[in-house]
Amino acid sequence: MELGFTERQREFRAEVGDWLAAHVPAEPLPSMDTADGFERHREWERTLAGARLSAVSWPERYGGRGVGLIEWLIFEEEYWGAGAPGRVSQNGIFLLGPALMAYGTEEQRRRWLPRMARADDIWAQAWSEPEAGSDLAALRATARRDGGGWRLTGQKTWSSRAAFADWGFGLFRSDPAAERHRGLTYFLFPLDAPGVTVRPVAQLDGETGFAEIFFDDVYVPADQVLGGVGAGWRVAMATTGSERGMTLRSPGRFMATADRLLALAGGSADQALRDAAVQARLDAEAYRLHAFRAAERDAPDAEASLMKVFWSELDLRMHETAMELLGPRAAAEPWFDGFLFALAGPIYAGTNEIQRTIIAERFLGLPR
């Protein structure tokens, strides 16, 4: 649908579109979950950063352009519409970045944000543990005071990008007497620190998109605590809101997928599949309109859960429809990689079962 953009917003769209048309690699980059592909994606991030396009909504002093959410959504529409590479800096820019903005000291922001925007540091999240997945508050990794700093011990898992990333962020239990979400602290740590062991884990596509991270008495100075000792849960929840909502998965991505799906379905005589493609385009448009509305007002936190359920299931439906349209030739197409990736959507950033429970309890007010 045609939305009423301002003259400045249209100019911004045109500038971004022109830049992308001139710079997006003609050939797809190798997978970011290979050593070579990871560095190729880092180079692409640096090219983006050179035009101050890697984190447009950040303040200029940290490497952004200081534009609003609407402009960011416009950027995303152009970015995915242009078929630009996946964002290897995703977890840093969209998950840690907002948390640093909200809870970091100015010194911390200046230390990490500009390097993050330029992909000098690529960040991996370290939330889950073997015994703490959906039930994140059950986490066991500990942080023990040591002089002016801390010692981290324990194990994190399903850490995306950690096989090749530079830094990690995650929660550790800093008060052994406290239970559940109390007594947790949010730490930032280099993945090459003494005592850190990273073990890559191959995903469904055979590439090492995951890693386990083992911490053996890893020393972390006090200035790598984000948001204060014991405040980890609050800081992390601010981050997971970004992860579940539109800042992780902007509508531009799904609009681009829906348009490619329409093009694919246009060549088919199968009425059911044509209708499925039309429905997918309608749903992608619904997500887009919802996002533009949400960007104009203060959306409640539980809305991030509504969005997460919607986009993850939409993405999977679109790729399932593409699999059906392609039939036995599907595995040879880029759609198949997209299908494998879409299968992860209902699992990561809080499973959709957890999201539905959050929607029911916090959005609808049903009893626990």
């Binding site: 649908m1 045609e2 939305l3 009423g4 953009f5 609407i70 329409l262 379905a265 246009g266 060549g267 005589a269 009425q271 044509r274 209708d275 493609a277 039309v278 385009r281 309608l282 749903d283 448009e285 619904a286 997500y287 309109l289 919802h290 533009f292 509305r293 104009e296 007002r297 809305e303 509504l306 359920v309 919607f310 079962e353 999201q355 539905r356 429970t357 929607i359 029911a360 309890e361 959005f363 609808l364 007010g365 049903l366 009893p367 626990r368």
Partner: protein, 340 residues
């Protein structure tokens, strides 16, 4: 962008309050048995707050509003399940009468709350509430037929919702019969197309409002109803069922509001946007109705509870002003072109 002004919200609040006072569930229920109830206190109240004349031009005493101005108000009429030909009178009739009714002054009567009009375009098979209308407006051949209910020889047809009576004319009017002489055929065709899109959008808004009511009712029941010593809303199966209803409603709403924006702006492709809105709102409302019935269980399957009034309304509105098949076909044509 899609945001509402204070004035637009105020109209919706005014309608909501007026209906809270004049359209309790008993009034909706009464409309199933008593023909006059479809033009009772709620109808009068909607005339007084200006909704019936909202789309009548100002020179005829209306408010001359656009879809974005009234979409939230129509949502409220769906939330309250108001009976009567509101969309037909307030939304579908004025653009057609603006072209074919030069002298009779029907738009002014609508704006004054003194006329109820039933309207049928070529894609709408039935005349809603024709028995209590003052005027019937029918698209036929290349023109418009304006007749009185008494002259039309009305035949009642089955309706999924007893508070919405459906009629066909005994002998479908011949082209141009009764229509104002000299009305340009192309202008009449365009007026009916305009009426169809605007009415379909208003019905989409009503479906959204009905869906919101059904979700609220199901949540309230799930909190109250105890089984196994706990409120049934504490069970995960019930929570997830209702969470999916919430997702459906939340993502249908912006499609309806977006279509109101583009339709009011006369944007190219606005008809497709209306079809998207109707399909999305109908799906969300149907899912809400289905889940609300399931959560209420056997008591929901009775006429003793008010729930059935909204269930029937959703079933009826789903096919009003274009059913899913029609609107999906319009979307297919807009997005994929004719089937190859």
């Amino acid at each position: 962008m899609i945001s509402f002004t204070d004035e637009q919200r105020l109209l919706a609040t005014t309608v909501r309050e007026a209906l809270a006072a004049t359209c309790p569930p008993d009034a909706v229920r009464a409309a199933g048995a008593d023909p006059a109830a479809r033009r009772g206190k709620a109808w009068q109240a909607l005339g007084e707050v200006g909704l019936l004349g909202a789309h009548v031009p100002e020179e005829h005493g209306g408010l001359g509003l656009r879809p974005m101005d009234t979409v939230l108000a129509f949502e409220e009429t769906g939330r309250a399940a108001v009976p009567g030909p509101i969309v037909e009178t307030a939304v579908a009739a004025p653009p057609v009468l603006g072209v074919v009714d030069a002298a009779a002054g029907w738009p002014a009567k609508i704006a004054a709350g003194r006329a109820a009009v039933s309207v049928r375009t070529r894609d709408v098979p039935f005349l809603l509430d024709a028995d209590i209308a003052d005027l019937l407006v029918v698209e036929c051949g290349g023109g418009a037929a304006l007749t009185s209910p008494q002259a039309a020889g009305l035949v009642r047809r089955a309706s999924a919702d007893r508070t919405r009576r459906l009629y066909e004319e005994a002998a479908r009017a011949a082209a141009g019969a009764g229509s104002a002489a000299g009305a340009d055929a192309e202008a009449v065709r365009a007026a009916f197309a305009y009426a169809f899109d605007h009415a379909a959008l208003a019905v989409a808004a009503q479906l959204l409002g009905a869906a919101r009511h059904l979700l609220d009712a199901a949540v309230a029941h799930a909190k109250r109803r105890q089984q196994f010593g706990r409120p049934i809303g504490s069970f995960q199966a019930v929570k997830h069922l209702l969470a999916d209803v919430a997702v459906g409603v939340e993502f249908a709403a912006p499609v309806v509001y977006g279509a109101a924006t583009t339709l009011g702006a006369g944007a190219p492709g606005a008809s497709g946007d209306v079809s998207a809105a109707k399909v999305a709102a109908a799906a969300a409302a149907y899912r809400a109705a289905r889940a609300a019935l399931q959560v209420h269980g056997a008591i929901g399957y009775t006429e003793e509870l008010d729930l059935h009034l909204w269930l029937a309304r959703v079933w009826a509105l789903r096919t009003a002003w274009g059913d899913d098949r029609l609107h999906r076909a319009r979307l297919r044509d807009a997005l994929l072109g004719p089937a190859g």
